[in-house]
């Protein structure tokens, strides 16, 4: 079975189900606090984006999105694991239990309000060379991604929100321009962005985990 056949097998998922899954994934990235759930949502979003992109660009190019998304998820996982699961980080067993934040309900409310805005404006948004379903996906990803950027400044959540905005923009861009070099360069750029986000995650997390374990003050040399 070649790649085209594989994507054909998944054709059931490619329409509305894929868009709904992607919409839910980006909402989870913005609302949830626990890094494992958020990273899983990002991995799902990357696969959904690859499925959607396979409708407008050749499947082997679309697969690049899933590969890059997977690599970013791995980088972020390793960074988070180094901070939260490494015994040297000083985080106790209890500290590794999934975390729920009281602000989660506020973020859920913000996403719900954004959903109302989305429903009110979706028919006014006219994007060139894009059908209504794609237009909805682009609008939702960019809207919720920007909301995530406004709500979070911590590198993991803010970084994934930025990648969600870029994912939405790619759906529009690749509908307009199907250029192999551009796709490669943009995906490569996302990978570098993922690297920078991982580095910032470690920089910030090291300080907070050291402070928590009383090893050092924030701001000192890592």
């Amino acid at each position: 079975m070649n790649l085209t056949d594989f994507f054909r097998q998944l054709s059931l998922l490619m329409g509305l189900p894929a868009v709904l899954l992607g919409a839910a994934a980006v909402a989870v990235i913005v609302i949830m606090r626990d890094w494992r759930i958020v990273l899983f949502a990002y991995a799902v979003l990357s696969i959904v984006l690859a499925l959607l992109l396979s409708q407008i660009i050749p499947p082997e190019w679309a697969l690049l999105q899933a590969i890059v998304g997977g690599l970013i998820a791995v980088m972020l996982y390793l960074s988070a694991r180094q901070l939260r699961w490494n015994p040297a980080s000083g985080v106790s067993w209890e500290g590794r239990w999934p975390q729920m934040a009281s602000l989660g309900s506020f973020r859920a409310l913000a996403v719900a309000l954004a959903a109302v805005t989305f429903l009110a404006l979706r028919e006014d948004l006219v994007l060139p060379q894009v059908d209504l379903l794609f237009s909805d996906a682009i609008f939702w990803l960019v809207l919720i991604g920007l909301l995530g950027l406004a709500l979070h400044e911590e590198p993991l959540h803010a970084g994934l929100s930025l990648l969600a905005v870029l994912g939405g923009s790619e759906l529009l861009l690749f509908s307009l321009i199907q250029n192999r070099t551009m796709i490669g360069v943009l995906e490569g750029g996302q990978l570098l962005l993922g690297l920078a986000i991982s580095y910032l995650m470690v920089s910030r997390g090291l300080a907070s985990s050291r402070t928590a374990s009383g090893l050092a003050r924030p701001g000192e040399d890592a």
């Binding site: 060139p128 950027l149 400044e153 590198p155 803010a158 930025l162 905005v165 870029l166 923009s169 790619e170 529009l172 861009l173 307009l176 321009i177 070099t181 551009m182 360069v185 943009l186 750029g189 570098l192 962005l193 690297l195 920078a196 580095y199 910032l200 470690v202 920089s203 910030r204 090291l206 300080a207 050291r210 924030p218 701001g219 000192e220 040399d221 890592a222």
Partner: protein, 466 residues
């Protein structure tokens, strides 16, 4: 034969690799990086663009384009001037960084940054340049953090806005390509114009998108912060000028000059007000630099009149002002182990030249007489008054805020020492601070010294092609 872009980017990346290997010996790394930058600056300054020249047994053709998959890199006369300026600034920054304990990452990453800024200035199609700016922002993340754990706001904000700008430029490129298909329809130009303006607002980061500047000033080593502002902001303004000259319809589609004027004045006004109220030297430095940046944006908005020479003049003089203030701030922060205004009391008795550099840099950013920026600011205010004198008044109100901030920062350095014993500033540092302050005063007294370099850039910059 080596083409100009290959020479610039290849040489800088090789030098960065070599300097990275030397990073443990900081003095050697700093001297190596500064020498490499200066050598390339001299080559760029001396070599002709349109003829082949034999250098060390290799033929170099500076003006030759490098083309790959429809993307080209080429050095024009204006790019040549910009690169010379960036490389000389980088050489000064490397030496200052070594003297003021700014961390070891600046030397290799600084050279890579200059290579990326050079690529932004050389690349065609222009709509790809913001992508290279994002690469530069990714590199600057490592410079801003400088290997330290803790606060990441400055680095994150530096990365955020250029990344958001990239899709806008690429979609604008599609509209620009569509426009010739239906020459009677101006809609694609209009949409592309608005997308480009929105993209440039994200790249320029005026108020209210200025949040990266004070965060970087509070977090990054001050000389690194000054380097990022001088290089990054100058490169983006150069890119804006390239867009305006390459796409003449842009000024007709959107009144970009008016937008820039409003944003520049708003930036200067708010930055001045915030500079007056800061409680740490780093953040005061950030807002003073932001005020100066707002004034530069105003000069760029007037580029249709005589604003372009004034903007070039300001770019040169602000580099001296920012580096002077950065050197003072870095020294005080390092020796006093804090930059909070309530913890730097007595700095004047142990670090007199650092305090002098701090105050002189502040006065230069305001544009007071006897400082590097006085003549260029005076010229700008006269030019602006011809349009509407109320704009000048608003800029002066902003400047008053920076005056208050400078007086507060200077005053905080007097009095008895507030903490543990402080080491005296080494003579090398004192000399570097004195040279920067002296250079500012000399240019303040004899501004005509800059006439030749400014005049040499005006024509290529106003007619530069893709």
């Amino acid at each position: 034969m080596i083409a100009g872009p290959e020479l610039v980017i290849g040489f800088l990346l090789l030098a960065a690799g070599a300097v990275y290997l030397l990073r443990k010996m900081e003095g050697l790394a700093a001297l190596g990086a500064a020498s490499a930058a200066l050598l390339l600056a001299v080559l760029l300054w001396r070599l002709p663009l349109d003829t082949r020249v034999l250098v060390a047994g290799r033929t170099i053709w500076l003006g030759k384009a490098v083309v790959w998959e429809g993307v080209s890199l080429q050095i024009g006369a204006a790019t040549q001037a910009l690169l010379t300026f960036l490389l000389i600034t980088a050489a000064v920054v490397f030496i200052l960084a070594w003297l003021t304990y700014q961390g070891r990452t600046i030397y290799p990453f600084g050279l890579i940054l200059v290579a990326l800024w050079a690529a932004v200035a050389m690349v065609h199609p222009l709509t790809l340049a913001p992508g290279v700016i994002v690469l530069a922002a990714i590199v600057s993340v490592f410079l801003i953090q400088a290997g330290k754990a803790g606060e990441t706001r400055g680095a994150w904000r530096q990365l955020l806005f250029p990344t958001l700008a990239v899709p806008l430029f690429l979609i604008a490129a599609w509209y620009i390509d569509q426009a010739p298909l239906n020459p009677d329809d101006q809609t694609p130009f209009k949409i592309a114009g608005w997308l480009l303006i929105a993209g440039f607002v994200l790249l320029l980061q005026p108020v209210p998108l200025h949040v990266a500047i004070p965060a970087i000033a509070g977090q990054a080593p001050p000389v690194v912060a000054a380097f990022l502002w001088i290089g990054g902001q100058t490169t983006v303004l150069f890119l804006l000028q390239r867009f305006v000259v390459t796409y003449p319809w842009l000024t007709a589609a959107v009144d970009s000059a008016r937008w820039l004027l409003w944003l520049g004045v708003l930036t200067a006004l708010l930055a001045g007000a915030l500079a007056a109220t800061q409680s740490s030297l780093g953040r005061y430095f950030g807002y003073a630099g932001l005020f100066d940046y707002g004034v530069l944006l105003v000069a760029m908005a007037l580029r249709g009149t005589a604003g372009l020479p004034t903007a070039i003049w300001l770019v040169l003089t602000r580099a001296i002002a920012l580096l002077t203030m950065a050197a003072g701030t870095a020294l005080i922060r390092h020796h006093m182990e804090s930059d909070r205004l309530d913890r730097i009391g007595g700095a004047i008795s142990r670090l007199p030249m650092a305090v002098l550099a701090l105050i002189a840099g502040g006065f230069a950013l305001i544009g007071l007489p006897l400082t590097a920026q006085f003549a260029s600011r005076w010229a700008l205010f006269q030019l602006l008054a011809e349009t509407d004198s109320r704009w000048v008044l608003l800029l002066l109100i902003g400047a008053t805020g920076v005056v208050i901030g400078t007086v507060r920062a200077g005053r905080a350095c007097f009095g008895p020492l507030s903490g543990s014993p402080v080491e005296r500033e080494p003579w090398g540092l004192a000399l570097a601070a004195f040279i920067l302050v002296g250079l500012g005063v000399v240019i303040g007294l004899y501004p005509q010294l800059l006439t030749t370099p400014v005049a040499a850039v005006i024509l290529p910059l106003s007619t530069l092609g893709p």
